[in-house]
Symmetry: C2
Subunit: 334 residues, 2 copies
């Protein structure tokens, strides 16, 4: 998708609903020139608020739908804005389940204006069933207590730190934001269910014994909606090392409040490691990643200390103090 | 799909590859008039072998692709036979991942002959994400040590026995064969991965407190390719009662020999019940279903006895001696 970008935040109640936009703003900052918000939007990425004409004047080429809703559909109240953006001469990119191309109104206007519609989530590829045969090379998978707890950021931070240390590592995106950041990968939650593990096997193919595939996790095994995706990804990834991710202070699954609690770090780690051992008997936990953005420094240090005491593994906040301690352990253990 | 049927067994090495055909022959026997086999076919459903002209002469309307391969695709060597069947005036039904409609050759000939192509696996429906909220009514799910261990037959047998006893029960098919037998249901392995649990929730909606949804299981949680489908189905089904299914004597996962063993009944039951408790904390094992077709009567009785001793639950072979003992327990426990 053609940069630079205007990030559409729509009516996201807060920044947690604008994961795709935040991910781009964080990891492709130089391509993100502005944000576009509806009046009741509660999210803010600290980018200039631009209308479509201002965006064009600044050289922006593509508006990215940077907000996700539960079904991954194009919300009816977004459509007029998408159409206005097209009419102002922008391309549109989205990583929703529902394709821009499949919306007759949007498709018609795009045809008229010549704007390109980038649908990044729906894979065009055909996958095989998983074969479960161990592949060469090493693999790290991020897993979580819930959705939206930092699995992607952690994987990106791990890759960054490993590359900086001269290690051989490749980030493998499994969701729309990772694909938008890197230009490759598969949206594993959009694969036909029978082929989840097969797609995950394809994502991290055989590699040199010293190469690490750093695989972005999805969902959570103790999540009532998305655990199937997670389990196929865990089995197909054959992870040697697992990092469990959590947002400090979160007690309940987002969107399932009143029904489902977040598991403890220990329980979340155990269920993912046990599942991984089906296809890689040597799989083990290697660290904890905590999103401590809601805490001050002292509180954050305390939260990391408690996570280390609970799990016996190094705990890091990737965006606050880096993932050095986890990499230190990784290079010793493997 | 229009009966009566000719069952296409293709080049199935043995009857385990012809699950769809065997299912129809077993549960819609009166509509199955004949079978069509290629020279190297090792499967036999004890139906008359008919060529397409003989089939038409007997009044057969539809040839059903009754064989499955791992990827769910139309094997190249089937195509000429499918085309000949169309040219003889038959309709074609299949439940493969690859649609008959999407095969240009087959679609062109069907257009020419007016033959109907029934693609039963690919759901046209859109589903929501699972909400994890407990629904009214009772649910029974069959699970397994592997694929093709009798999960569908067990569920059908349970429904039959319950209806005969005047209980309120509905079989919920989750695969192509069940859909062909009953004309409803969803092929849960063909749903977009994000919506497995949501589709399973849709499949057994709220119902009277005394109604039982009898849900056909798919795959297995300890299977390297299909466990994701299974987990979403387990979570979305919210089963009160679980029956674990196994083929007596099977030691390794079919198609994964040399790599993956079948788990014990105890292990298979435990992992499925534990998973089910995420969305239904009262879920429990209620019985064992053993396919003992490879054993003589004495051996079969012995195998069932050993299964009962191992699990502490009633064990039945549904097709040999019925599922009475499991229903006896069900009516006492719920």
């Amino acid at each position: 998708m053609q940069p630079p970008f205007l990030l559409f935040l729509g009516d996201a109640p807060d920044s947690s609903w604008a994961k795709t936009a935040s991910g781009l703003a964080q990891w492709r900052a130089k391509d993100c020139y502005g944000q576009y918000r509806l009046p009741n939007c509660g999210a803010d990425l600290n980018l200039p608020d631009l209308n479509f004409e201002e965006a064009r004047a600044k050289g922006i080429k593509t508006m990215v739908i940077g907000i996700a809703n539960d079904g991954g559909f194009i919300a009816p109240n977004w459509i007029e804005h998408i159409i206005s953006a097209l009419k102002a001469g922008l391309n549109i990119a989205a990583g929703l389940h529902e394709r821009l191309e499949d919306n007759a109104q949007i498709a018609a206007v795009a045809k008229e204006t010549g704007g390109v519609l980038y649908d990044l989530r729906r894979p065009n590829m055909k996958f095989n069933s998983g074969n479960g045969i161990k592949r060469s090379g090493k693999r790290l998978l991020t897993v979580g207590t819930d959705c939206a707890v930092g699995k992607k950021y952690t994987a990106l931070s791990i890759e960054k730190e490993m590359l900086e240390r001269g290690l051989n590592a490749t980030f493998c995106p499994t969701g729309q934001t990772g694909i938008m950041i890197t230009g490759r990968g598969i949206a594993i939650d959009s694969v036909v269910a029978d082929f989840i593990a097969g797609a995950a096997e394809w994502l991290s193919p055989e590699a040199d014994e010293n190469h690490w595939h750093i695989i972005e996790g999805q969902g959570a095994l103790l999540h009532p909606a998305y655990a199937g995706v997670t389990l196929g990804l865990v089995h197909g990834s054959q992870p040697d090392a697992i990092i469990v991710c959590h947002e400090a202070g979160r007690k309940e699954l987002v969107g399932y409040e009143g029904y489902y609690n977040c598991p403890s770090l220990t329980d979340a780690l155990a269920i993912h490691v046990n599942a991984a051992r089906l296809t890689n008997p040597n799989s083990k936990g290697i660290g904890v990643s905590l999103n401590t953005s809601s805490l001050n420094d002292a509180q954050a240090k305390d939260a990391l200390k408690r996570a280390e005491d609970e799990t016996g593994l190094p705990a890091c906040d990737p965006l606050r103090w880096g993932v050095g301690a986890i990499i230190d352990k990784l290079v010793v253990e493997f």
